[in-house]
Amino acid sequence: MNQMFTLRDVEFKNRVLVASGTFGYGNEVLDLVDISKLGGIMTKSLSMKPRDGNSSPRITETASGMLNSIGLANIGVHKFIEDKLPILKKHDTKIIANIAASSIEEYCGVLELLDVQNGIHGFEINVSCPNVKEGGLNFGTDPKQVALITKELRKRTQKPLIIKLTPNVTHISEFARAAEAEGADAVSVINTLIGMAVNINTRKPKIATTTGGLSGPAIKPIALAKVYETHNAVKIPVIGIGGIKTWEDAIEFFIVGASMIQVGTANFVDPASGISIADGIDQYCKNKSIDNFDSLVGSLQTNKNVSIVDSWL
């Protein structure tokens, strides 16, 4: 069985990617991890200008999870192309540029600069960003904005275009449909959930920006439900993200409808976890003699005699 997956003309050698912002720029771990064994690498979110990011503290641990508010600190697209891409290019894996921006123009500008780089195999668009024109209102919580971003970017690239959705909405499927309608090749589900933690002695938030993004095993059940909802709403592939630490976790995501998965926070604990997860997936498929991976994707056996009305009460 092989895990190969094709998005447009791009062939990923397996179904395991590393999530944006959880793997540095890929070069930090070269002595720890053979990145050519990964299906692909989602870069840290790149913006037009370098971003210093938020003040400290930026992270704090929670029960089976963590909060972060890095503030999309990144070296900027130009420096990425000069310093990082040449290194990443050398390795036999797919590089997906994750783009963050505070205006549609910026999204387009960054994408255009990267689209001409042959080391870049596709794009993942982080729409969980404040829309400066709208006074900081989040792009990701307005289906119209998500549609508009997708439409404008689709015009500008023939490479795989993946829209990464935020879970902090009532119906994530609306947003997936909006992206699909405007020509997105896939959606990534999910980004972090809004959360916070407080130091009860200083009465200060444990991260400088008060609220932050919750990630890690704690959110896996929520991520699975969001992937399941999305898979049932769109025909384009769903890339599952959220709390994946073991190959068993990954299999759960495939069963609810993910075509590929991303490993995020787990990289902090075990930078090579993506590789062991890919190996575990192989083993599982062997043991269950699954020789067509797509027969696993979305193969959830739901309980027929349960009406959706009763669900989750």
């Binding site: 912002g21 959880t22 793997f23 540095g24 930090e28 771990v29 002595d31 720890l32 840290k44 370098p50 210093d52 990011g53 003040s55 400290s56 503290p57 930026r58 992270i59 704090t60 641990e61 029960a63 089976s64 999870g65 963590m66 972060n68 890095i70 600190a73 890690g216 095993p217 926070t265 990289n267 902090f268 604990v269 075990d270 930078p271 090579a272």
Partner: protein, 255 residues
């Protein structure tokens, strides 16, 4: 840098509260330098994140850390048994030795509480041409570790050992009595202590190198969670885990 499963060789209480954990690693024995830290996965499930610990001592392939139980992770670590395997990632960060050369006669080590951790190993590997004086501060005597240090002078907040007061007051009064020639400070401990020391170092214009501590998700430059604000430079922040943990105090905002 390497991620490996190492075997616990021994436990030893250096004080009623501070425990030394020694494990076996050929790799770290060869490659770890004073000031480096290792990142330990104390449990498969909980807590989620690794816990960073400075390297306290190395003898051949015996590597040790010291800690006191302050929470979930250190409690689990203290409950391990000899022979247990632990998942260790390191060496991480930069080394004090990078700053051990140059124009000074005496290296003054200043450790606050468990911040003493890197100094015994640093003492062992330090440039023999230099004189070493060590000042230790602790809340009380059971939090003061003297092992493997040279010319140790102690202060405790409660006066249960040595000078009764802060380590900085001890240093100031000591400097009135003794002459050390041109000095350079190397420090690790509570931020407030290191900040006070840095200010004092400026007054007497001595260089001061501090090992900083922040919460860390990865310890190897992946998460960008461990930022410290720097003075000048075109970037606003540096990463403590990768570009530190040791910085010249002049170059960073200690607060």
């Amino acid at each position: 840098m390497k991620q490996e499963l190492v075997t616990i060789h021994s436990f030893k209480y250096l004080t009623p509260e501070i425990l030394e954990l020694t494990f076996v690693s050929d790799y770290l024995g060869k490659n770890a330098l004073p000031g480096h830290f290792i990142n330990i996965r104390v449990d498969q499930n909980f807590p989620l994140l690794r816990r960073p610990f400075s390297i306290f001592n190395i003898e051949g392939n015996k590597v040790s850390i010291v800690f006191n139980v302050i929470g979930t992770g250190t409690k689990i670590l203290a409950s391990k048994k000899i022979g247990d395997a632990i998942d260790v990632l390191g060496p991480c960060g930069n080394s004090f030795l990078t700053f051990a050369e140059g124009e000074f006669d005496t290296a003054v080590f200043v450790g606050g509480g468990i911040g003493v951790a890197p100094f015994p190993f640093l003492t062992k590997r330090f440039n023999p041409a230099k004189k070493i004086v060590t000042f230790l501060g602790g809340r009380n005597k059971s939090l003061v570790v003297k092992n493997g240090l040279q010319n140790v002078k102690i202060s405790t907040d409660d006066g249960s050992e040595g000078f009764h007061g802060t380590v900085l007051d001890l240093i100031k009064s000591d400097f009135k009595k003794n002459k050390y020639g041109k000095i350079r400070f190397f420090t690790c401990g509570p931020l407030r202590m290191m900040k006070a020391l840095a200010d004092f170092a400026n007054e007497i214009d001595a260089e001061c190198y501090a090992s900083l501590e922040t919460d860390m998700a990865c310890g190897i430059g992946l998460c960008q969670g461990c930022n410290v604000e720097i003075v000048g430079g075109e970037r606003k922040y540096k990463l403590v885990c990768k570009e530190g943990t040791i910085f010249e105090t002049k170059s960073v905002k200690l607060s």
